[in-house]
Point group: C2
Chain length 252, copies 2
Amino acid sequence: MMNKENSLGVILKPDERVDDLHRNQYKIIQNTKKFCFGMDAVLLSGFAKVMSGERVLDLGTGTGIIPILLEAKTKGKHFIGLEIQEESADMARRSVAMNKLEDKVDIVIGDIKEASALFGLASFDVVTSNPPYMTGNHGIVNPREAKAIARHELLCTLEDVVREASKTLKPNGRFYLVHRPFRLVEIMKTLTEYKLEPKRMKLVYPYVDKEPNMVLIECIKGAKSMIKVEAPLIVYKEPNVYTDEIYDIYGY
Amino acid sequence: MMNKENSLGVILKPDERVDDLHRNQYKIIQNTKKFCFGMDAVLLSGFAKVMSGERVLDLGTGTGIIPILLEAKTKGKHFIGLEIQEESADMARRSVAMNKLEDKVDIVIGDIKEASALFGLASFDVVTSNPPYMTGNHGIVNPREAKAIARHELLCTLEDVVREASKTLKPNGRFYLVHRPFRLVEIMKTLTEYKLEPKRMKLVYPYVDKEPNMVLIECIKGAKSMIKVEAPLIVYKEPNVYTDEIYDIYGY
């Protein structure tokens, strides 16, 4: 297959497609074989709060879904998506261009572990991350494969993400994380070790009678210990039918 | 008012009444002005697992509700309820006698802070606790009042409870705690500091669209970090109508 220009004037590479984000008529390029965002990123963009004029950094931005959605949903001033995989970052940049967001969203190629060296200490009001969830590399055939890098802690650990979030945040800055509930104890321990105090948490349950498969956490750098656990977020009313809350977050 | 003997042959003091526990025809004495158990204790007794032959300690047993319910629901060998308030312990003892459980359940008057000195190190398979939830004494008129002592950390702190639970548990022993979600970060931090690793957690939401007001946690002493967050426990289907799960735990 060859690269082709679609009707939006965007160059698409093989296996890429353009999806509608249902916000500001924004669209995003995805590659179904390599880089696709999940519900996790969309729910994090609905959970995160960005105030007028704030500067936001997304650690491990992938397709750029989080900065693009946050630009659409909030009055934040500027958004940076940091991504180590060049192919993914290139796709994210083309999505930014397609939505004419070059003045608002920058996609930077680089390593999460060096975020504070790249951007400086205390330089953001908000940091977001939908990091790799899985420790170890059990079941991975090719550790260089794009999906393996996005899902497993091959190039960075939870501690790397939390440490760099803490360093790049201003005092009282906010960190928004989506992760898997089975690592909750380790997540809270790591966050508090780096002075990111969890202040708000929401568990995402696929059905009202099932275990949660995601946890959304808001931390405030340097805050006192006291957390508000929010009402549950239930994804499905019945098979294939989202709850109203999910439709609302997705913007349908 | 004078003490009176009721139809069960039990001496009741003023303001005391006998309630049915809907388990093994057990009953319990409560004093509506001083010592009443809440849903918290009942849900903890439904969440806790006690295996055949195990020895169980309940820290701060109040009316004795947790050991009495666990004796009814499980095949545990022996249950001790530790309570610092003499009046409450006396009531719990009369409940034990009323149910003819003197061979299975002991109510001991003593201080949670001295539990490991009283009972010895590594002497229980299971420890349970429904401790005071509130820090500080804001709004307390009389810090000697029974309800104030049961609800506020006047005579013991969360750390005291966790430390004594850890000391009195055998290796791989299990600690079951019910508490308020707003202290979740501190709870997890304290538990892990004392080698009680949270392995199972359930949030209790009064309604499906409301914030949780209780959290149930199972820890295993010395275990590795990995937690199973369970399906939500929703209390009410609609005002004044419990969900089936609650009716089941209450034994109706």
